[in-house]
């Protein structure tokens, strides 16, 4: 795996090298694929070749022999794959047969309605029931697990997920169940079944919290892995955004990020900033943004990339020129990042909003030309953009086109309004309190 990482351009902006060790082979594959595509796009055939050979190395240990063989043919320009591949293919096929036979009975059973209806939530009782009624043994259940793993290695993610699910229902072996949950999560991710992936994510998270309760070190490692894996649904599925962000911002996970993988901050920032317009409620988003700023400041000594620099310049140093420069760099970084590539435009747009927001907060009169430059737009586009902004957000601002300036009107913060704000929740909170006491 190291070879392929070495083959990748080491320009510092990519966090690939950091991310890779925490992903499984199969999960890493899409990332490598993405890098390969990028290299091809750039026309860098040398690099593309290197990545291709890296890909073969990566997958050699798996059971996806057919695919590897095709890759090999591509790379070396031969029409026939070498004999070892065909041999391995045979092995895999016989193995497959063997597993299929072993699990045939139980798989059949689990498709029958009356059997499924007989199952209860008590696992021990279930196993007893199956043993008495249908002669299912523990070995058969474990065979399900092995077969699921085998399927996964073959790249048959859908069936693998099913197998593991069935295994989990029946098995009482906690360690294996945990492993099966991880396996199912990977399978769901790889078969882009996001909704169930999010569910599995929850299961894994609970497992980490309860099962490894006494082992902080293992907890940390597992959480680190979980954080990396959950990047897939985070940037690919709208519905996953909120639960995953909540998870990231919870105390133990943010600590994990700070302790063992500060590079995740970039994804966290991107997710929060991009989600600006989509967020259901802006106060949550405000809070998250503020938290992010704090984490960036805390981690500044050990991790910095253009995206964190952008946050740093905008919210900590208040240096708008630096922020603009950082934004330009982050755009590049985003485009070449597997997870962020798709949302690059949204990110840049949202980031411009943020610049504008804090600019408006601080300045009462500003030059359109300067502002456009700060946003990285030409004056005409800038003006249009600002007009749109004013209309969208109902800012109290006017454009003086004679002077080419925007004049902000900062209404003073009304004292009475403040008093009302402060006492607003009082009644409700007291009621809740009252209810809680009388409970």
């Amino acid at each position: 795996m190291e070879d392929i990482l070495k083959a990748l351009p080491a320009d510092g902006a990519s966090v690939m090298a950091n991310v890779a060790p925490h992903l499984s082979r199969h999960l890493l594959f899409p990332l490598i694929q993405f890098e390969g595509d990028q290299a091809e796009e750039k026309g860098d055939s040398e690099l593309a070749k290197k990545i291709l050979s890296g890909k073969i190395k990566l997958l050699e240990d798996t059971n996806m022999t057919d695919y590897v063989a095709t890759l090999y043919q591509d790379l070396h320009g031969v029409s026939e794959p070498p004999a070892e591949y065909t041999k391995k293919r045979q092995d895999v096929l016989t193995q497959l047969d063997k597993y299929e036979k072993e699990t045939e009975q139980i798989a059949n059973l689990l498709t029958q309605d009356e059997v499924v209806n007989g199952l209860r939530s008590d696992k021990v009782a279930n196993l007893e029931f199956l043993k008495n009624q249908h002669g299912v043994t523990l070995e058969m259940v474990n065979a399900l697990y092995d077969f699921g793993q085998f399927q996964f290695r073959c790249g048959q993610y859908g069936p693998a997920a099913d197998m593991l699910y069935q295994f989990r229902v029946l098995s009482t072996d906690n360690d294996k169940v945990a492993a099966a949950t991880w396996g199912k999560l990977a399978s769901e991710i790889l078969s882009t079944n996001w909704e169930s992936a999010v569910d599995e994510l929850k299961n894994v998270r609970e497992g980490i919290d309860t099962r490894l309760f006494n082992n902080p070190r293992a907890q940390l490692d597992h959480r680190t892995m979980l954080i990396h894996w959950s990047l897939f649904p985070l940037f690919n599925f709208e519905g996953a955004r909120e639960p995953i962000l909540d998870m990231f911002f919870s105390a133990s996970y943010i600590n994990t990020i700070q302790t063992s993988c500060p590079w995740i901050l970039r994804y966290l920032i991107a997710a929060v900033i991009t989600g600006r317009t989509r967020a259901r409620n802006s106060s949550v988003q405000q809070k998250q943004l503020k938290d992010i700023v704090r984490y960036v400041r805390q981690e500044a000594y050990e991790y910095a990339d253009p995206i964190t620099q952008f946050v740093n310049a905008l919210y900590i140093a208040h240096d708008f020129d630096a922020a603009r420069e950082a934004l330009r760099l982050s755009e590049e970084v985003c485009r070449s990042d597997f997870f962020l590539a798709a949302s690059t435009d949204a990110f840049v747009n949202a980031a411009r909003h943020l610049i504008c927001e804090s600019y408006c907060k601080i300045f009462s009169r500003m030059n359109i030309r300067d502002l456009s430059a700060k946003l990285g737009l030409n004056p005409d586009d800038g003006e249009k953009w600002i007009v749109n902004l004013i209309r969208e957000t109902r800012l109290d601002a006017k454009i003086d086109s004679q002077d080419g300036t925007v004049i902000m009107n900062h209404p003073p913060n009304n004292v009475y309004q403040q008093v009302i704000e402060k006492t607003k929740g009082g009644f409700f909170r007291t009621q809740v309190l009252n209810a809680a006491v009388s409970k």
């Binding site: 302790t259 050990e302 300067d370 009475y416 402060k422 809680a436």
Partner: protein, 869 residues
């Protein structure tokens, strides 16, 4: 001797600490001593009290010193007989007189059969005898009396058997008591008693002659030395020498064990002369020729030497410490060269004195009972104690300190020895011993600058020779001090637990902080979560924790992280009890009485001078940090009196108030004055004056890179000056050109703009920037009327009340109630974030100088956030 000296010593401890760094940096910082006069007037009465107490104690000391003489006087006065003669008699004679009185009393008692009297007098007599200088001869009258008493007791008992009920109960009881006592004491003097019995008449005569031979109490010692000189001369002819009591002592290799046994049996008894025994053993050590003998002799010898320093007050004499160190390393050499002998704790004693143990078939080692690690620890402790008692300003201290190198070598070789034992599977080495010895090594390393550690290491590697290597600390890694500390600590993390592990961690953090590795030190400190458990530790570890905390704070300061530095130092320096918390001097409790026991313990805990953290530097750093944070805050809150006052450092505020109350302020004399006047200047916007005040503090020179630190401080003062200026004068301006400000504070225009932007965006300043004219426009109408601010205060209080209620309920329900689970925060208090708990401690803090109240940081979780919303 001691009164003035001692008082002076106590007073100067603050000043003395300022010399601490010199010990290593070698720079002479004499001018620092002048700063010492900065003790505030309120501390003067304290030191008065101090010296008073010192007086009392001195009197006590003298009493102890002259104790035996005085007591003798008092007692003989009460006898009323020898009053006249007393003045001309020597102590020895007086004691003999007393002895005689007692003897007379006993004789009287014998005549009358008054057993109560005899019992009392017999006790007294025995006490007096034990008090005699250990070397002197037992007075013959004493022997005579005890022999007589024994006879009388026997007679009385025989009589009592024949005619029961003759004696009354008290007498009978006394008789029995005497019988017991006689039995016990006479055993010791059996030889003399038989001599007496043989020749009752002439016995006393000969005794007189002998006493004349020994006229002064010093004489016996001299005689003894001669004895040994003689012994050496005749050593070749079978080691025949004449010991005390006329017995012939034979020092032969064969009799070594017998002597050792004798010595071991008298160990801990009152009237044994330890020095004498040590001399005997030194002799034995010379003649011991097998490794087994040598090991046995050395083990006993070293522990006998340690017995000299036992007791809580007296310190082991220097020459004995040095000898013990030599002997210990000799022992280690012997053990290293003779692999078949091992010294272990949990081994049965070999009882047979006649023949040494031999190698049993099937066993690889001859095990000797003993504990190397205890000896090493004891040696270390003794040095520590001796350093505690030496005045650190004398050259004696420096000389004593040089012994640390030798000690470090011993520790290192002890470690090597245990490693060698561990390699052998047949021997069970308690992990605890290895941990202890590694901890000792670490304790000698962690507080020292890298180059000093390096020299230490080089010396000890040189001492053990080329071809020896250590498994825990391989030669290559030990060369680099940072690596060494890392390796030692990593070993302790994996192999030890509980307090030892915590201490290892603290030591490593201390070392990192000392070497400017701030972030790593801070992260380790926070991740250890020690702040939650430290209150349960023993006092020594708590002191180490305090020291580490302070060192981390100083490190943050050197890095220019003012906020973090102040925050970290607050706990220690804000308490006003730095001396006590860092164990660098005893604080006098003004309102509560300290029992002598407590005081003694406190004294024991004190760190030797070379380990001190310079208290004055610490105070200086703390005050400077507080100034940089407090002055802008004061300016910000100063204009509106109703805003709830936030106080960062109470200590600083108090000093500032005190300073402002002074009618006439002279030129600054000490650090505190300097900082206070700098604060005043800064508050008035005169940043240049403030900088010059701060720069003229001399103690900065003690910091490495003092120039850089001064530069950093200038920059901070400039920025904070600008902020203070804006806060103070904002109400009087409509607009202010950025350019003017940048001229005034000699800051870059963009920097000024950035600072102003920051203030605006944190809503500290009601203003906005005009980009076209680059002015700051202050908003009008933001000053609140009295009614308005009161309304605000009321609403604040109302919501605080609700919050308290909620928290109380949360505590009552142990957080199980989900009553408060609501959707998110309310936006307003977002920056207080509840997701902060886990990693513990104050981490850097928010962008604004928002401070969280102590306990709330650890509530964490969604619930905490919702409640605080």
């Amino acid at each position: 001797m001691s009164r003035f000296f001692r008082a002076g010593n106590d007073d100067s401890s603050s000043e003395s600490s300022s010399d601490e760094e010199e010990l290593y940096s070698g720079e002479e910082g004499q001018e620092v001593d002048q700063e010492q006069s900065e003790e505030e007037s309120d501390e003067f009465d304290q030191s008065d009290e101090e010296s008073e107490e010192a007086d009392d104690k001195d009197a006590g000391d003298q009493k102890q010193g002259a104790f035996r003489f005085l007591r003798d006087n008092v007692e003989s006065d009460s006898e009323g007989e020898d009053e006249v003669r007393d003045k001309v008699k020597s102590a020895q004679d007086k004691r003999l007189d007393e002895l005689e009185t007692s003897i007379k009393q006993i004789e009287n008692g014998l005549k009358n059969g008054d057993w109560t009297l005899i019992s009392n007098e017999f006790d007294k007599l025995n006490r007096q005898v034990t008090k005699l200088p250990a070397g002197s001869k037992i007075p013959k009258p004493y022997i005579k009396v005890i022999a007589e008493v024994e006879e009388a007791v026997n007679e009385a008992l025989a009589k009592a058997k024949v005619t029961p009920k003759k004696m009354n109960a008290i007498q009978a009881k006394a008789l029995n008591a005497v019988k017991q006592k006689v039995k016990k004491t006479n055993k010791d003097y059996q030889a003399q008693i038989t001599v007496y019995r043989e020749d009752k008449d002439t016995y006393l005569w000969s005794s007189d002659e002998e006493e004349e031979e020994v006229p002064a109490p010093k004489a016996p010692k001299a005689v003894k030395f001669e004895d040994f000189a003689a012994a050496e001369e005749v050593a070749d002819e079978g080691f025949a020498t004449v010991g005390k009591g006329g017995r012939t002592l034979q020092y032969t290799p064969e009799s070594i064990f017998k002597h050792l046994r004798g010595i071991l049996e008298t160990r801990g008894k009152k009237n044994t002369d330890r020095i004498d025994q040590i001399k005997v053993m030194e002799k034995l050590n010379e003649i011991a020729n097998t490794p087994y003998q040598q090991i046995r002799v050395l083990l006993t010898l070293v522990s006998a030497r340690f017995d000299l320093g036992s007791g809580t007050t007296n310190v082991m004499p220097l020459e004995h410490w040095k000898a013990a160190e030599k002997e210990l390393s000799q022992l280690l050499t012997i053990l290293a060269n003779n692999n078949e002998y091992v010294v272990l704790e949990n081994v049965e004693e070999w009882d047979d004195d006649e023949k040494p143990p031999t190698l049993q078939p099937g066993e690889k080692h001859i095990k000797v009972a003993g504990s190397i690690v205890s000896y090493v620890e004891r040696l270390d402790d003794e040095l520590h104690r001796s350093l505690q008692s030496i005045d650190p300003h004398t050259s004696e201290y420096i000389e004593r300190l040089q012994d640390e190198g030798a000690l470090y070598n011993v520790i290192f070789r002890g470690l090597l020895y245990y490693e060698a034992l561990q390699k052998d599977e047949t021997i069970e080495v308690p992990q605890d011993s290895v941990n202890r010895i590694i901890m000792r090594r670490l304790e000698h390393v962690y507080f020292k600058p890298a180059q000093v550690v390096k020299t230490f290491e080089e010396n000890c590697w040189k001492a053990v020779g080329e071809n020896v290597d250590s498994t825990t600390t391989p030669r290559a890694q030990a060369q680099e001090p940072a690596e060494l500390v890392n390796v030692l600590c990593a070993y302790l993390y994996t192999h030890s637990e509980g307090i030892l592990r915590a201490r290892a961690l603290l030591s490593q953090v201390y070392f990192l902080a000392l070497h400017d590795d701030y972030y790593k030190a801070r992260d380790m400190m926070l991740m250890s979560h020690l702040q939650e458990t430290v209150t349960g530790f023993d006092i020594q570890s708590q002191i180490l924790y305090n020291r580490t905390l302070v060192q981390v704070g100083l490190c943050a300061f050197r890095k220019g992280l003012i906020y973090d530095a102040q925050n970290t130092l607050q706990e220690i320096c804000g308490s006003g009890r730095q001396k006590e918390l860092l164990a660098q001097g005893v604080m006098m409790q003004r309102y509560s009485q300290v029992s002598p026991e407590q005081e003694r313990l406190e004294k024991q805990r004190q760190l030797p001078f070379h380990m001190h953290i310079n208290l004055e530097l610490l105070e200086c750093v703390y005050l400077t940090c507080s100034m940089l944070l407090e002055i802008p805050l004061l300016a910000q809150t100063g204009s509106s009196p109703d805003v709830r006052k936030r106080v960062i450092s109470k200590t600083y505020r108090r000093m500032l108030e005190y300073h402002e109350r002074q009618i006439f302020t002279g030129p600054p004399e000490n650090t505190r004055d300097h900082v206070m006047q700098a604060s005043k200047a800064l508050a008035a916007g005169e940043w240049k004056k403030s900088i010059s005040f701060i720069h003229s503090i001399k103690i900065w020179d003690l910091m490495p890179n003092s120039e850089e630190i001064k530069e950093m401080l200038s920059k901070q003062i400039q920025e904070e000056g600008l902020r203070t200026y804006l806060f103070t004068y904002a109400p009087f301006y409509d607009t202010l050109a950025v350019e003017t400000l940048s001229d005034m504070f000699e800051l870059d225009a963009t920097k000024v703009a950035a600072i102003i932007s920051k203030m605006i965006s944190h809503e500290e300043l009601a203003a906005s920037l005009d980009q076209v004219t680059s002015n700051v426009i202050f908003r009008k109408g933001v000053e609140l009327s009295r009614l308005q601010s009161l309304a605000l205060a009321l609403s604040d209080k109302a919501s605080a009340l609700i919050e308290t209620n909620e928290r109380t309920l949360e505590q009552r329900t142990q957080g199980t109630s989900n009553a408060f689970e609501r959707q998110g925060g309310r936006g307003r208090g977002g920056h207080r974030g509840g997701a902060r708990g886990g990693r513990g401690g104050p981490r850097g803090g928010g962008g604004n100088t928002q401070r969280q109240a102590g306990g709330t940081q650890f509530t964490g979780g969604a619930l905490g956030a919702a409640v605080r919303g």
